[in-house]
Symmetry: C2
Subunit: 204 residues, 2 copies
Amino acid sequence: MEKDLSAEERIKKAARKLFHQKGFAGTRTRDIAEEAGINLALLNYYYRSKEKLFEQIMDESIKKIFFAIQRVINDPTSSLTEKLDAVVTSYIDTLIDNPNLPGFILSEIQANPENFTRRIGLSVEFILQTALYRQLKEHCAANEHLRNLNALHIPLNMLSLVIFPFIARPLLTNISGMDEKQFEAFVADRKILIRNWTKMMLHI
Amino acid sequence: MEKDLSAEERIKKAARKLFHQKGFAGTRTRDIAEEAGINLALLNYYYRSKEKLFEQIMDESIKKIFFAIQRVINDPTSSLTEKLDAVVTSYIDTLIDNPNLPGFILSEIQANPENFTRRIGLSVEFILQTALYRQLKEHCAANEHLRNLNALHIPLNMLSLVIFPFIARPLLTNISGMDEKQFEAFVADRKILIRNWTKMMLHI
DNA sequence: TTTTATGTTAATCAAATGATTAAAATGGCT
DNA sequence: AGCCATTTTAATCATTTGATTAACATAAAA
């Protein structure tokens, strides 16, 4: 219970933590209030309802995970290789700071797909129109080994390799016996590895 | 409402569908009853409680996703390459038939990690002791380019590349405009692709 | 100091939800 | 048919849970 934050901020912080962990349906407003160290009524005083509070958290979460890399992949000056490198690095850094973010967003998408295509909708088409994706398609078109490859596989692979370890973290650490520090080192190692694997896939 | 199944079976089928979609907390027993076309009380008559019913669904789900490949990866007669191929193929086939399975299991792990390490615990250590993993480590040890690579990255990559598209399916289909058939074809294509990418990573 | 706006709390409400009960229906068995 | 075990239902209960209310506290403004 951090006294240096305002009640409103403490509520949002607690809500983010619990929503990220347990999802919307699995989180009770009373738990948020307790985690924030405030009276339950204050939650409704500041945020009107559980839904409204959730919307705010979700919007901020989506922005964080989608827009973290937007500048990188739209930079017209950098090369394809430079972009691949920058994307992987900045994404992994974001996820190390917010390890539950991917699981949270993907769970809520699965529980409520309609809601989501609407919410993300516009801010998602941009992926196919980024400088990165254009460079990728050009590269595939120019390389005879890649000419029959659906270019979509490549960014999907990068996201898979970056994100999945965070989603499967409890399992992964349990299997391998890694602690939190070791896990962070393990995924940090993957910054370079994923860049190299991706270059292999692209025959670079 | 399939009349050819017993009430007990219809309940389990409905429960599986809803739990897989909405998770434990997001599913109401009344919804299960309605989906199954039976009276709510019947659910408790056959399964005692929502928790007990969930346990059954979860146990079966875990078995399905963990033991689908157990024979393949423990086969002492097949080569490493053959195993990689078989694992990817059988896993993707399983997931095409059960597209919500990974999202379901991973969501519940995230919401309730303690519960899970206990539940999976024993049946998970086996991964590090399989024939596949041994062959993998031997291969890495024998190859100078791979000697400094933590071998764990490789099976993790395979699982990432296989599973993640199913977890991100709503997003993926939304971005690319794929329909269900096209998505299935897309992930089916990945059977061969992932095998090849994995072989690249292993310098095979 | 009184007043007023803002922040906070305890108590309570109403709806949702998991579960139970007691009665009714169903189907085999003699 | 009559009897018995099993299955199914409607009605109800008890608890949980999101939300509201009315009172109280605090601090700034007049």
